[in-house]
Amino acid sequence: MTDEKKTQIPDAQAIAEGAEVTKEMVQEYTSQNMDMDKMWITMGPQHPFSHGLWTLKIQADGEIVTDADPIVGYLHRGWEKEAENRTYPKIIPMADRLCYASSMMYTHLYCMTCEKALGIEIPEKTKYIRVMADEINRLQSHLMWLAAVGTDLGNFTAFLWASREREFWMDMNVRLCGARMTTNYPRIGGVRNDVFDIDLDMNDEEKSRFMRDIVRCCDHFDKALWDIIALIDNNSTFISRMVGTGIITREQCANLGITGPAMRGTGVDFDVRRDDPYDGYDLVDFDVPVLSAGDSYARYMIRVEEMFQATRIIRQCVDKIRSLGRSAPYRLKVPSRIPAGKTYCRIEDCRGEAAMYLVSDGTDRPYRLKVRSAIFVNVSSSRDLLMGCRIADVPVIMAMIDMCLGETDR
């Protein structure tokens, strides 16, 4: 059908001038212009698969996805603008709220950015404490992701088992800083409290029961994670959903800016912790898992291996903190004003590369504080991830991105 023959509907101006629009005209116009083979399905913002408030519109041709369009912004609360009106220490609890699952990391990132702007070096013990806290947070976040993968794959057992293991690390968090989720633990120039001040052994001031329990948690977790792995990896109903779905290549990764486990799943051997080490990460020994398949299963495997590496890092940190002892300093006094300048700082978040760009003007408030969220970039790639997959694969592929809306919308 050529364009000349198509029915034209009078525009608003023509209608104002008195042109008539009949029902038949509209029906004819719709039938000519609609692609009836394909159907747009809106998933979200209230949908069981979207972990948080966001919408994914997918265009489906039967069961095959032919187009996708992620819509974020439901949770936008003007974080960056709000930060400009607060003094530097008051932004710390706000940074907790960036991502409920990796609050420790964002607070750490913020404090690190300020320290870099101030040009100070934090004490060695604090570096280890921060790395340990980060890895505890990484375990929590990855376990929550594993739980969500369980429900997205249609199994509630994996959800509850992963949540159960997460509780141990939650308890450790509570003992470390008093809160389960929004930790408010790192400070500019150190951390809030020394780990030796928690649960002191009455007989020996140098011994902390907290440190003992962290190691016990690691011992338990290294075994318990195998239960969940046995449930998922030995089961073809799970594997068949993950292998070969949501494939992306190295080139796509580079073009889309994907970072984190998704990037390492395509064979890119890069981890900020190892290749651009911050705080104590150059002082501990760990491996960076890399796979080249680029599918959902590769992302799954990498996250699981990262959990094992996390306990390995925690053990080393505990040893180092113990050897440094109670007397080592854990916090520096820092000035409340940051000299004028521009600072960029990045860390390896649980979901990818998170960064902050601080423009300071010599006052006690930031002139501008820009946050680079890994998920905001990763979720933009959902069209490339989803093209050609089936509707049933959509939750599984999206689960591997590990959505967190707090940092995406800011």
């Binding site: 399905i41 057992t157 509850l160 049933a392």
Partner: protein, 416 residues
């Protein structure tokens, strides 16, 4: 087969003492030669209730016709039939509630939580949930297609209840004793996909539509292997009558032995047929919210869930009937090989076991336990893999099962 149990003993008292047998002396008795326990109980119940009413009426208005009518043979039979239906449904309903409770409790323990907690061992949770859904508002979209939206859900629930009532619990607890009993049940099973498809279409919701289409295509593909295996069992027993199939197993051995391939295939296909995990993609909540049930809320949702459990429990019942000797106690069939010793063992030592109905239900709950375990440990299978599995794996397997049974029957045919 004579059952030596308490209920048999109680019901047998009538004939021992020379009392009139209310069933055989009844000119309107609808079950022919067969003794029907729920009907008998209904009759006795009505004799008490109707007799009391008639006596009262006679006291108030001496010599009236109504009290005579209330206790005549025809009225007795009509009310006995009503009470018979109530009894059959009540037993099925309670059995279904118990399997519901079993599922929630076992799932809970498997997932390292407590499961249901209300009442003794959490048994009253079903009642609480029923009351809760009953008191919910009747919310539905304005844009649903009213006629189909209401009638399809009623038909889905109705057929599910009907299927379950058609499964005989024992030679004396049945609704019809028909030569094509299994075919009736499978026919009722086969009705559901159409209702689900139309119901998904009527809701004016994309999730419902996709869910309805998925459910229908899955159920239609999985009915083929089911029917082939049922035909194989009928071939072994030489009859489609459920009673005959069970009796043939009692004489020889449980059909799970020659038809092991068929049993595994049937188990999986029945799981798919009753839309249970891992084949629950019709209600795949992660992508399709609640599948074809999305727009059904409150009591409608509660009844649809109940219908799902009724179908699941019924699938387990059919598995027990076809493969595990139905209502007979285990090792009863060894009589054929070991002589009458086993039979006398049962008569002498198992008399305390109250009823064949309970044996049947216990076996069905055991099979249901396997289904729950499958649900505990599996994820959801994708639509195209399900159809692939159905047509390319289970269909050939069911035919392989038929071939094995044919070889069995040809070469070791002595026992048949």
């Amino acid at each position: 087969m004579a059952y030596t149990s308490i209920i048999d003993w109680i019901t047998g008292v009538y004939s021992q003492h020379g009392w009139a047998d209310p069933i055989q002396a009844n000119p309107y008795y609808p079950f022919g030669d067969a003794y029907n326990l729920p009907y008998d109980l209904g009759m006795k119940l009505w004799n008490i209730i109707g007799g009391a009413i008639a006596w009262l009426l006679d006291l108030l208005f001496p010599g009236n016709d109504v009290s005579t009518w209330l206790v005549c043979d025809m009225t007795n039979n009509i009310f006995a039939l009503v009470l018979f239906m109530v009894l059959v449904f009540a037993v099925v309903f309670v059995a279904c509630l118990i399997s519901l409770w079993e599922e929630r409790k076992v799932l809970g323990r498997g997932m390292d939580r407590r499961g249901t907690m209300i009442g003794m061992w959490g048994f009253l949770q079903c009642v609480a949930d029923g009351l809760k859904t009953f008191m919910k508002d009747n919310v539905f979209s304005k844009k649903v297609d009213g006629m189909t939206y209401w009638w399809t859900v009623a038909l889905i629930i109705g057929t599910s209840v009907l299927i379950d009532c058609m499964v005989p619990l024992s030679p004396r607890w049945f609704v019809v004793n028909y030569d094509a009993g299994l075919l009736i049940i499978m026919g009722l099973y086969a009705l559901a996909p159409f209702f689900i498809l139309v119901s998904g279409w009527s809701q004016n919701n994309k999730y419902s539509l996709i869910g309805g289409i998925r459910a229908a295509e899955m159920m239609i593909s999985y009915e083929v292997p089911l029917l082939i295996i049922i035909a194989t069992a009928a071939l072994l027993a030489g009859s489609l009558n459920i009673g005959d199939i069970v009796m043939a197993q009692t004489k020889h051995f449980w059909y799970v032995i020659p038809m092991f391939v068929g049993f595994v295939t049937f188990m999986i296909c029945a799981t798919a047929e009753s839309e249970r995990a891992p084949f629950d993609l019709a209600e795949a909540e992660s992508e399709l919210v609640e599948g074809w049930q999305t727009e059904y809320g409150g009591m409608k949702w509660g009844l649809v869930m109940l219908a799902d459990y009724l179908r699941g429990a019924c699938s387990c019942g059919i598995i027990v009937l076809l493969f595990f000797g139905g209502w007979n106690l285990p090792f009863m069939e060894w009589t054929y090989f070991l002589g009458d010793g086993i039979a006398s063992f049962h008569q002498n030592f198992m008399w305390w076991f109250p009823a064949p109905e309970l044996t049947f239900l216990l076996k069905a709950w055991l099979i249901f336990f396997v289904m729950i375990a499958i649900r505990l440990g599996t994820g959801r299978v994708r639509t195209d893999s399900i159809l692939n599995l159905g047509w390319k794996v289970f269909m050939p397997l069911s035919i392989l099962n038929l071939v094995i049974v044919l070889i069995f029957k040809l070469f070791i045919g002595g026992v048949f």
